[in-house]
Subunit: 395 residues, 2 copies
């Protein structure tokens, strides 16, 4: 095996510490403030939401990344600091400053992220007091607490780390994430923070991150439908001192994909993990667009919840996706069972399909039989529980 799964999350790589605690933003008293710190300045990159309305911390983080270096990330949950105008921006700046001073680093080297309710100002007194305690409690075992502190409607913390070798040296890459698996039109915030001790140039780190996000988080969420706060950031502190990059990019993809899968599996009210594969499309963009159209159809999602082999709803979603299709060429498979040929349903093994639909993980493959391109997206079913969670979330 090239990659070994190891414990430790964002604190698995050399030189990283983390903390997570409750500072009183959440009325429930649950953890709501996380800090990640590298003992040396790290090359840093981030991908931000494409939503035209961006939360204040994203703008602060974007500015602080202009030199490609960062040393700490401060994150709060329970309040998105979005749609908060000038004061929201100042608050996000102050969050960075409150971290920088005691750690004796530049505020410019602190990234800031928030998740939670839109439109309320941050309780800055609580946050500043929380930051002090977070700095005191930074440890190289702190990843789990940090993963817990960035949760909102998440039902479990998400962290992962892998180890691999470059030039005979041990390299590690770790990550924590939060988010709901309901892809667009949900727009619940998705956050991920990655750390690694690999030595890498900042421009290349940025490119690698972009590609990794595209093949992971962007297969569960649509660019045009991201929340105001979505952000994926990485710190690479170079402590391994490697010269080549070896399997680094593959490892980064792996970490991002594992975190993305956890997010989908923790989808609000989800009872199924559904993989939609489009084959035989005219282009990869077309394939992805069509896959997302199916994944985003409430009718398709409720059919999965009902464990119903309702391929007609998949056909309807295909036809309305805007992608190039020829109805008479479409093949649909549930798992390995082919149930539609040339756009028409065929007799199939009902017991086998029923078994497939009862399983917690379902794969649907659509072959358009038009070209060579393919794409894959991950989604969940839509359950009554989803509605209950999102109707009650704020109150």
């Amino acid at each position: 095996m090239s990659f070994t799964k190891i414990p430790g999350g964002v604190t698995a790589p050399q030189g990283f510490k983390a903390a997570g605690l409750a500072c009183g933003i959440k009325e429930s008293g649950k953890k709501d403030l996380a800090l990640i710190f590298s003992q040396v300045p790290a090359k840093a990159a981030a991908v931000f939401t494409s939503n035209k309305i961006k939360a204040a911390p994203l703008e602060v983080s974007r500015r602080h990344l202009s030199n490609g270096v960062a040393q700490a990330i401060i994150i709060n949950s329970g309040n998105a600091n979005a749609c908060t105008g000038r004061q929201g921006f100042d608050d996000a700046l102050q969050m960075a400053q409150s971290v920088a001073e005691p750690l004796k680093i530049s505020p410019q080297d602190v990234l800031v992220a928030s998740t939670g309710v839109i439109g309320n100002f941050l309780p800055m007194v609580k946050i500043k007091e929380g930051v002090k305690r977070a700095i005191q409690s930074l440890t190289d075992q702190g990843s789990s607490n940090a993963a817990e502190a960035i949760m909102t409607t998440d039902t479990f913390p998400k962290e992962i780390a892998f180890e691999f070798e470059i030039e005979g040296r041990r390299v590690r890459i770790g990550g924590i994430a939060k988010g709901s698996g309901m892809i667009a039109p949900n727009m619940a915030t998705m956050l991920a923070f990655l750390t690694t001790d690999v030595k890498i140039d900042e421009p290349f780190l940025k490119d690698c991150l972009k590609r990794a996000v595209d093949s992971s988080f962007n297969t569960i969420t649509v660019d045009g439908q991201m929340s105001t706060n979505d952000m994926v950031a990485i710190l690479a502190n170079g402590m391994v001192g490697n010269k080549e990059l070896g399997l680094f990019e593959e490892a980064l993809h792996l970490v991002c994909q594992e975190l993305a899968k956890m997010i989908v599996k923790d989808g609000e009210g989800a009872t199924k993990f559904v993989e939609i594969v489009i084959e035989g499309a005219m282009s990869q963009d077309q394939a992805k667009g069509i896959a997302l159209a199916i994944a985003n159809s409430n009718l398709v999602k409720t059919a999965f919840y009902g464990e119903d082999a309702n391929w007609g709803r998949i056909m309807a979603a295909l036809g309305s996706s805007g992608g190039e299709i020829d109805p008479d060429k479409i093949e649909i498979f549930f798992g390995t069972e082919r149930i539609v040929v040339q756009g028409v349903g065929i007799p199939y093994d009902q017991d086998k399909v029923s078994q497939i639909l009862k399983s917690p993980e379902i794969q649907v493959t659509v072959n358009l039989n038009l070209g060579q391109a393919q794409a894959r997206v991950w989604t969940t079913d839509l359950s009554p529980e989803y509605v209950k969670i999102n109707a009650a979330y704020r109150t």
Copy 2:
């Protein structure tokens, strides 16, 4: 009043009869076959789904409309006759023939529509037997039965008729419809059938119908997201013998809007009727796109179900709509209460807003403060009941 609401639905205009009965397509034994008949050939026009996968009856109806004349419409519910290939097309043709022969009209003058589950072949023996009985039971009181027979998940039949005057003569226009109020990404089938005794040329009738559909049914459903079976058809039998058209087009808009409102109010599991108004947009297309992005957000819809003034979700939907916006110029109103100014929440009368959100009809207005264009869409909230209905629909 220029227009008087009258009973009678599609049989209110002179010379129209209708019938609706159970022929055994639905296992429940509920009505599933409807017939509308004009005693003289009528000018006819229709608007069909933009879904690239079109059900067989739509293709048959499109061909039968090539001469702009029709005299009957046969509709079944419980089976969409979609994704049924060559046999589905032949079955739809046979439906037209089975109506034409006993009525001694050309099969070319019969339109065909279906709604229900995709992918099953029609039970043609039952349908042919049903058509015979439907012809025998045609009456000028038959509209309600027909309205009932086209229902699927609808909880009430939808029919309406208005009367007005042209050149001192009484003109009538009536309609029946079926459909769920959940707009895209739902794609539940929407059908509407309209009758009038006005005298009108076919090309102009077609134009009028298109415009009326755009300002009614298309404000509750998106072109790119229609079902495989959506269809709106009109028969104008000319029995009034008018020369001018007077207020005909206005009356047609009124009938379509009233039916569209009924569809929204009967939204699957809906507890609220929600009107989204976008003002101050750069163009009408932009305004409509932005309104639909808000109306289609599951998070916005669940917030309405929860009677929660969660304007942050509206902001997030605005930002991801792809439409032109300036976050710092956005104003949001719930009813008449302004709650967001320049993109930031302001203190508002909580009791008043709470009252507004508790009401069964809610209006949300967003002023983008960029241009002069505006648009309005109608939608519903998203309730746990919606999921239950759609998870259980087929089984």
